[in-house]
């Protein structure tokens, strides 16, 4: 370009004023270029981010102005103005490029920061969840312990219930055993049920003939009665003596009383409380068989022992009344 201008400077004197004499005061393209360069110079971003490109634009504009002042050819002036305008545009685009690149860089940094923050939050959240899970596990463990305790309590209660049931069973068995014992004791005594309760009959053969003296067989019955009375302390007995109708009435009454009394005394001798024993003689009354033959009369000679109920009460004999301890009507 300088070469071109130098060449032009050389040829100027030779051409004198011939071809290049008339030029307008202003040129639109030069004005456009100047405005573009000026705008670039006033753009702070272009000044700071594209100084090299801006310098080229300013230089090109200076050359265009010089060419205009030196009245160079309009083509040359336009060419230089075009270069100046384009350099200004390049400077503007360069500033835009640098701005965008800086924006990308800072945005990348911002993105990295946001990602880091997100990861940090994620880690914190994971920590919180882990802590929550731990707390839940602790609570579960506590619940399990409580459940175990409850199970142990329940097992203990069940054992207690089993023990209670066992005790009940034992009591029931005991009661049954007592009932069986009573039954067997009564059957040992050959007791028989009557309207007034269980009655043990001591036959004539258990006494010495015509006497109130108990022979060994009678005493064995008395021993059984003692066992019974000791096993069932609530029971009381009524001891009642009878004879057949042979012989003197008063003597029969006397014998029946003595025989009943003998049994009562034998029981008292063996430890039975006298308050539990009542003895009476009924003489010839209340025969259980006919007095017209020896077998019937033997059955009538007897002592009956009436056993009370569990409360100790005994139904009274119908007729003659129990209160009548004297002679009854003759049968």
């Amino acid at each position: 370009m300088k070469t071109w201008k130098a060449g032009w400077a050389i040829v100027v004197p030779a051409f004198a004023l011939g071809a290049c004499a008339v030029l307008p005061a202003h040129d639109a393209e030069v004005d456009d270029a100047r405005a573009a360069v000026l705008a670039a110079q006033n753009d702070a971003q272009v000044v700071s981010l594209a100084p090299v490109e801006l310098h080229k634009a300013v230089d090109a504009m200076r050359e265009a102005d010089a060419a205009w002042s030196n009245r160079s050819s309009i083509e040359e002036v336009h060419h230089l103005a075009y270069l100046a305008w384009t350099h200004a545009a390049i400077a503007k685009e360069t500033a835009r490029l640098k701005t965008a690149e800086a924006s990308v860089a800072s945005a990348n940094a911002e993105r990295d920061r946001v990602r880091l923050e997100a990861r940090t939050r994620e880690a914190e959240r994971a920590q919180r969840e882990a802590a929550r899970a731990q707390a839940q596990a602790d609570a579960n463990r506590a619940n399990a312990l409580a459940a175990q305790q409850q199970a142990a309590d329940a097992a203990q209660q069940a054992q207690a219930a089993r023990d209670a049931a066992e005790a009940s069973r034992a009591q029931a068995a005991d009661a049954q055993a007592r009932a069986q014992s009573l039954q067997s004791a009564l059957s040992e005594l050959q007791a028989r049920p009557t309207d007034r309760g269980m009655v043990v009959t001591m036959g004539d053969l258990l006494f010495d003939t015509g006497s109130a003296h108990l022979n060994p067989g009678g005493l064995r019955v008395v021993d059984h009665l003692v066992e019974f009375m000791q096993a069932y302390p609530q029971r009381r007995v009524s001891i009642e003596g009878f004879t057949d109708s042979v012989g003197n009435f008063a003597a029969n009454q006397d014998l029946s009383e003595r025989r009943a009394s003998a049994v009562r005394l034998a029981l008292i001798d063996r430890g039975v409380d006298p308050a539990r024993l009542v003895a009476r003689g009924y003489g010839e009354d209340y025969p259980v068989a006919s007095n017209t033959n020896p077998a019937g009369r033997q059955l009538n000679r007897r002592v009956e022992i009436v056993i009370s109920d569990a409360n100790g009460s005994i139904a009274s004999r119908g007729s003659p009344p129990v209160a009548n301890m004297g002679r009854g009507p003759r049968g």
């Binding site: 130098a6 924006s103 939050r121």
Partner: protein, 128 residues
């Protein structure tokens, strides 16, 4: 290089001034514009590599047309016009390249900003 040619040109001009003027041989001062053409060609290649055909096709085409014309002028021996055209083709190509690069950079900046916005949205949606 140009300085050397200049001095030689001045020397020649000083010695044969009147003879040359008489012959009307003005353009003898302008050397071959081969260097300018090469520079413009390289600038165009750079613009192409910057995807100027996509982002600033108008300036790239202008540069190519001017370079083609510069070759034509040079082939016809009109070196002065060829050189001017080559110079203009070079700055056109450089403008196309710079504009393509700045446009892509602006798009990249917008994309990163968008990714940040998406990231922020994603974080906001997550439970704290």
């Amino acid at each position: 290089m140009l300085g050397e040619r200049f001095k030689r040109t001045v020397g020649i001009a000083g010695a044969t001034a009147f003879a040359m003027l008489a012959a009307g041989c003005v353009t003898v001062a302008t050397p071959s514009p081969t260097g300018k053409l090469d520079v413009a060609n390289a600038a165009i290649a750079d613009a192409v590599s910057a995807d100027a055909s996509q982002y600033d096709a108008a300036d790239l085409d202008k540069a190519r047309r001017k370079l083609a014309r510069a070759h034509d002028e040079a082939a016809q021996g009109d070196y002065g016009v060829a050189q001017d055209l080559a110079e203009e083709a070079e700055v056109d190509a450089r403008l196309a390249a710079t504009r393509a690069r700045s446009t892509k950079a602006a798009q990249a900046a917008a994309a990163v900003q968008e990714s940040i916005r998406a990231l922020d949205d994603e974080i906001a949606r997550k439970p704290q």
